[in-house]
Amino acid sequence: MPVRSLRLRPFVRLGRCMQAHSQDGARPPLIQIEAVSRHYRRGVDDVHALDRVSLSIDAGQFVAFMGPSGSGKSTLMNLVSGIDQPSEGMVVVAGQSLGELTEDELAEWRARHVGLIFQFFNLIPVLNALDNVALPLLLTDLAKAERVRRAEIALRVVGLDERVDHYPRTLSGGEQQRVAIARAIVTDPDLIVADEPTGDLDARNAEAILELLRKLKNDFGKTIVMVTHDPRALRFVDHAFHLDKGLLLEGDAADRADRAIQLAAGGGLISTLGDAPEGARRPA
């Protein structure tokens, strides 16, 4: 079966408005974030992880959230993937306003619409590659044979169709991350969210994973949001959003951040974005 035949639609889609064209013919963005803030208490401190961030991401884009530790990029990723909910503002993904959903509804929504990839792979050690990939399909009504078939296809997409019986401990880091990617795509989600997917890999494997993600975007039209520190990512993504201290950098500040990262990628410059640069826009 050709790899391109991966069209896995086990669910009735709740919000396909991102694929539907609006009345004026323009295609609405897959992800719409409007004036989103996220703050919480850590001990006695109030932490403002995100401050009135607005952005939109079109379907089929491969974007990166970049920034130093504490910049709010992981918080933003959690909001986009429906893991967390905003304190203020609105997050709309695939036509669904996530702030309106309960914890259990969010879980169901994630199962249907989001594929998640983590830095440390987080495979289930007692399951082999095939069973790990098929894990999210347990949440569907598919028969076992169909779950296995789809998991095999997903493993073929990531180039691990020869390793289906292998347990995580017998796979290299790069292979484990590929299994994790297969697990993320097996339900054919609208959105793939990757949290530092190259953070625990050597340079060669990191490049391979980034290449694979780009292939998922190019060949299968997947929308991919990636949180990363990895300057190499800029070569693969369509767009990078730079964050610092909970603010989205735009204009000159974002350009400077891009250049600093490109320099780091090209010249080995150890770059930190430093304090919130001038130009970090605090939305009105």
């Binding site: 879980a107 998640l116 399951l127 347990l138």
Partner: protein, 388 residues
């Protein structure tokens, strides 16, 4: 069922820990099953000892008090009474022991066989018992304990009456539930008269056999009515009730056994709960990821609880099988060695099996519910923050 595979694989994540926890639960179930057989076992022993047509009459003030011997004749005349025999405690000690090591009674030789037809005594031995005034019939256990032979002479020194009597062993009760020593009451009566007393004018207990089990209650009521307002009012009870009262202290033992059973169960709940908590803690990262990819809280809770319950149930089934095997072995041993006879009564009944299985299920559910609930309840973002 589609999560069954996941539950099973997770259960064997740490084989040693699973085996040890399962082993602890299994042994607890064995212990509890064995303990639970004891009340039923004692009940069975009583049933074994007691006959449903036999009853006993004794002084209402207690079995250490006597009744007039003449009352025995009156009892025989009550409707429905097939036979009655008076017993008197002799309290005889054998040789230098100086203490009573087996129950010995003066009985009416001509009536004893009719009241205890279920006791296996050879007819010719019963005939000899009636023929020889100094004849004695003894239980097999006592015979074996002292290495006596039939025809041998045995002297008992009474701790109650001022006489020592020399007996000729003429018969044996061929079972292990009657370790008695019976002799002819006329022999004691004559010995006492020779000592200058008025002879044996009393009965300690009167054993009665009803012709029909349905008449036992009527006979008891009539007998007690006959003695009302006399010097020795009587209290009648069935043989089973008599033995139950006689062994009344065993009820306390049964209570202790049941308390121990409860404590054992509680200990195992704590052990299993600790194991379940460790398992959940170790897998916090995986659980967080499962929640993140969309596993709802009820599925997380159910699969974790199912793991703890499955382990307990498997261990419980093994424990029940082991308990059945052990009691079966005890029964076989009891058949092989008479001294172990009563152990044959301790059998794991279907009810005990159900109790053992419920215990294991209870242990699993109780042990698993707290860590499972804790893991499932936590919001996914908190779970991810804690582990990554």
């Amino acid at each position: 069922m589609k999560y069954g595979y996941l539950v099973w694989k997770n259960l064997w994540r740490s084989k040693l820990r699973t085996a040890m926890t399962g082993g602890a639960i299994m042994l607890a179930v064995v212990l509890v099953c064995l303990l639970l057989t004891m009340p039923a076992g004692m009940d069975a022993m009583l049933n074994d000892f007691a006959n449903n047509t036999r009853l006993t009459v004794h002084n209402k003030a207690g079995i250490v008090y006597s009744m007039p011997y003449s009352f025995t004749r009156k009892v025989r005349q009550v409707d429905g009474v097939a036979a009655a025999v008076a017993w008197v405690w002799f309290g005889g000690a054998f040789e230098e022991d100086g203490r009573v090591t087996f129950p010995n009674f003066a009985v009416e030789a001509e009536h004893i066989g009719a009241v205890f037809p279920d006791y296996p005594i050879a007819p010719e031995q019963l005939a000899d018992f009636q023929r020889y005034r100094d004849g004695a019939i003894v239980g097999r256990q006592v015979l074996q304990k002292y290495g006596w032979k039939l025809g041998q002479r045995v002297t008992l020194k009474s701790t109650v009456w001022p006489v020592d009597l020399d007996f000729r062993l003429v018969g044996v009760i061929e079972n292990d539930r009657a370790p008695h020593f019976w002799f002819n009451r006329e022999y004691l009566d004559q010995a006492l008269k020779e000592k200058g007393s008025n002879g044996l004018g009393i009965a300690g207990t009167i054993w009665v056999r009803a012709s029909d089990p349905r008449q036992v209650n009527t006979i008891m009521r009539k007998v007690d009515e006959m003695s009302r307002n006399s010097e020795a009012e009587t209290a009648s009870e069935t043989e089973r009730s008599f033995f139950a009262n006689f062994f009344g202290s065993l009820q306390g033992l049964v209570t202790i056994i049941l308390i121990v059973t409860g404590l054992v169960s509680l200990c195992i709940v704590f052990i299993a709960a600790n194991t379940a908590s460790m398992g959940v803690r170790e897998r916090a990262g995986e659980i967080a990821v499962m929640k993140a990819i969309g596993f709802p809280r009820r599925v997380i809770f159910t699969t974790l609880l199912a793991e703890a319950s499955l382990l307990s149930i498997v261990a419980g089934v093994a424990g029940v099988f082991l308990a059945v095997g052990l009691t079966g072995a005890l029964q076989a041993l009891a058949g092989w060695n008479d001294m172990l006879g009563p152990l044959g009564n301790f059998i794991v009944t279907p009810f005990v099996i159900v109790q053992g299985l419920f215990l294991s299920l209870f242990v699993g559910m109780l042990a698993g519910v707290v860590p499972s609930f804790g893991a499932a309840r936590k919001p996914v973002v908190e779970s991810l923050h804690e582990v990554f």
